[in-house]
Subunit: 442 residues, 2 copies
């Protein structure tokens, strides 16, 4: 098994309402397993054109992965299209049926009759369980018993749902182990992603320029997504250990060149980086959010095990809640103003003291689209960090007093974009503070 | 000219490093112009497979749009692949050459010889100017003069660069006016999306099944994204007003069939739906989040203008913050437990009373991946809603007492998925409550 083709079905894809991110994810994973991807094909929810696409894919690739069209409604036609392309009839799969029935039982709902369609699989197919949704996937190895079309020996079709969360879970739990059994490892391709925050992309490019030659091994490429710069490293070697060593060497070099701007590798995000530093040092944080409106806490609480380290969060959108948190009268808050360094520091100190956290974080700003104050521009954001100054004080002459620092940022873009950048910079301030503490404590 | 196929070329696409958003953009634009899109195809930077993809596309579609592969380096093979597929030799285009030379002159740089390749276009092609980059596009109408392959009369190939900013500029300035000249406006295609939450997809499919026949006009299809079911309506008519009326009629029918499960249209999400009801009735909400960890507030604060209606949010992850909010001693909280109907109701009532909001919302649960208590499964979530019972009391015999309801949910999936479903169900509970209030007040 060497070559693969990915087919996505859905009118919403073919008409441009949804972007086909499933093909991106699956390609990445297949490349990691050493497969070459020949084509991505997208077709509408139409059984003849989908069937035709499957036939062509089977002619040119060893493995065909199809996403979408496994739902219960009549525009879900992948089962029928596979049946058509491989000359295999559809039969009721008892395991699939039991799974769907069970899911409805757990939800205390009656199963609509049309869900029965989802348990019809091409004869000889193996069920791929879906833990989240009703749509089971399946894998069909060709030919099983002389039934069906000729000339497809050893070829395989894997069908997965189109909902990315369901598809990814099933890919990870079923497809990857399946492929590992199937494909003997010869040449080893290892990939690594290194994530960077807080430096301009051009500067990153200049600093690591000599690593980016097309002939280099590991190959290094850059990509930018939601404010994060990611370096993609791809190492090839005959032995896995060697490829791994090459990646590690390159990572060390990059970390030396870029310093603390490197915050994580692989699937780590800024929330993970902050969480692991908090966990490592047994420290706690609490957050008061005005313009980010809960996003900082949301990003932190995506990390399992954060509960012991996130002592609390408040969304202090109004003057009243700002007063409630700081203990100041509402008039004083109005006098100070709601978007400035002063109020941000007050909020950071207050949330720290109220919750007893080691670190208090506060964000104020104007996410837009319009500003409530003529002299405060959309995109102006303040982030304040209140700390006990604990460890640092022991190793220096600093007093035992609490520390509170504040930074000003000017972002531009949509409301969601400004919220996102503000939240990421807030997490990054906590991260840099924890790294500083780490150095001071050594 | 009725049907189109979109081909994208690039190793970075086929290997999953970059997602093909060009196909999304181009499809949207072509649908608007009344074309049907049959296929999207993605291939690597390899002249034979790209040439083959172009040949197949020309067999099945009237218009083939290709993005990528127009750069100056040796892995840019679109010009050669078109030449191969259409049996047209490449010739130097003087206008293209002048454009590239001029661009380098403006940059005060010498033109590398490899840029000459970009001025080689298939014989008979018309240049499509690129104002941003060096890669000119081109349009080839088949056949021009009996040269080249047979059976392609009236078909057309348009080649554009892969860089989205360049592609979009050229599409907007050249391709759209070109298509408008080519396609006489006869039929109007209008689209509408209708969003549904809280019903199983199969049940939605059953209820509106008679609207989903492939021959229906408007055509109705379903898709599911992050727990939301979306119906896609596509109406075709000779007059735009008629298509619009058809969409409106179908929407009314769908709303009657599905009732309050319909929460929005087009780009509206659950946060928007809740926000607009709050704004309409001048009501306020406050949120206490345990397992959703700020996500409910984040979704609400994505809506501009929500600040007057979201009086505050607290992330009550710990026993301490739960005690702080409810005013109960920590021991009592531990006695009650942190994931159950009782504590959830207490939190909802407390956040409402503390902030003076009309509605208090609270979420507790276990987002996983593991549970802190052996008898509380991952995915168990409680959502409570505390209201003043204002309006409702006036129109009924209910007492003036505050109302507090709680619901139990069992979700399965990853931590982020459970958080997302819990947050959406929480927003939906607020929405349904506001709709109930609306009915009671009428």
């Amino acid at each position: 098994m060497k070559t693969a083709e990915i087919i996505a079905t859905g009118n919403e894809l073919i008409q441009g309402e949804v972007t086909n991110t499933n093909a991106t994810y699956i390609s990445q994973e297949l490349v990691r397993k050493g497969l070459s991807i020949l084509y991505h094909t997208t077709v509408g929810d139409e059984v003849v054109s989908l069937g035709g696409a499957i036939e062509r894919a089977l002619e040119r690739a060893d493995l065909v992965i199809i996403t979408g069209g496994l739902g219960p409604t009549r525009d879900d036609v992948t089962r029928e299209a596979v049946s058509l392309a491989c000359h295999r009839k559809l039969v009721m799969d008892k395991e699939a049926l039991a799974h769907i029935q069970n899911l409805f039982r757990c939800r205390h709902q009656e199963m609509p009759e049309s869900n029965l369609r989802q348990a019809m699989l091409p004869k000889g197919a193996i069920l791929i369980p879906n833990k989240i949704g009703t749509a089971p996937g399946f894998c069909l190895s060709l030919p099983v018993d002389g039934e069906g079309r000729e000339g497809l020996t050893g070829k395989e079709i894997i069908c997965l749902p189109g909902v990315p969360e369901e598809m990814k879970g099933m890919f990870h739990e079923w497809v990857i182990p399946h492929l590992e059994r199937l494909i003997p490892k010869k040449r080893h391709t290892l990939l690594k992603k290194i994530h960077i925050f807080g430096l301009p992309e051009a500067l990153v490019g200049e600093k690591i320029s000599y690593l980016m030659s097309p002939e280099a091994n590991p190959k290094v490429g850059t990509m930018v997504h939601e404010g994060i710069i990611t370096l993609r490293l791809q190492a090839e070697a005959e032995e896995e250990a060697k490829a791994r060593n090459m990646l590690e060497g390159a990572e060390q070099e990059i970390r030396q060149l870029l310093g603390e701007a490197v915050f994580g590798v692989e699937e780590e995000n800024l929330g993970d980086a902050v969480a692991s530093l908090l966990m490592k040092h047994g420290l706690t944080v609490a957050v008061a959010e005005s313009c980010t409106g809960g996003l900082v806490c949301d990003l932190l609480t995506n990390v399992p095990g954060i509960s012991k380290h996130l002592l609390g969060g408040m969304v202090v959108y109004t003057v009243k809640t700002k007063a409630l948190l700081t203990g100041l009268p509402e008039e004083s808050i109005e006098q100070i103003g709601t978007v400035n360094p002063e109020i941000t520091k007050l909020l950071a100190s207050a949330i720290r003291e109220r919750t007893g956290a080691d670190i208090g974080l506060a964000v104020t700003g104007v996410a837009g689209p319009t500003s409530p104050h003529p002299d405060i521009p959309v995109g102006l954001v303040y982030i304040a960090l209140a700390t006990k100054g604990k460890c640092r004080d022991r190793s220096s002459d600093l007093s035992e007093e609490n520390q509170c620092t504040v930074k000003e940022f000017r972002f531009s873009g949509t409301r969601k974009w400004i919220k996102l950048l503000a939240a990421k910079h807030a997490l990054n301030m906590v991260r840099l503070n924890l790294l500083e503490l780490e150095r001071a404590c050594v």
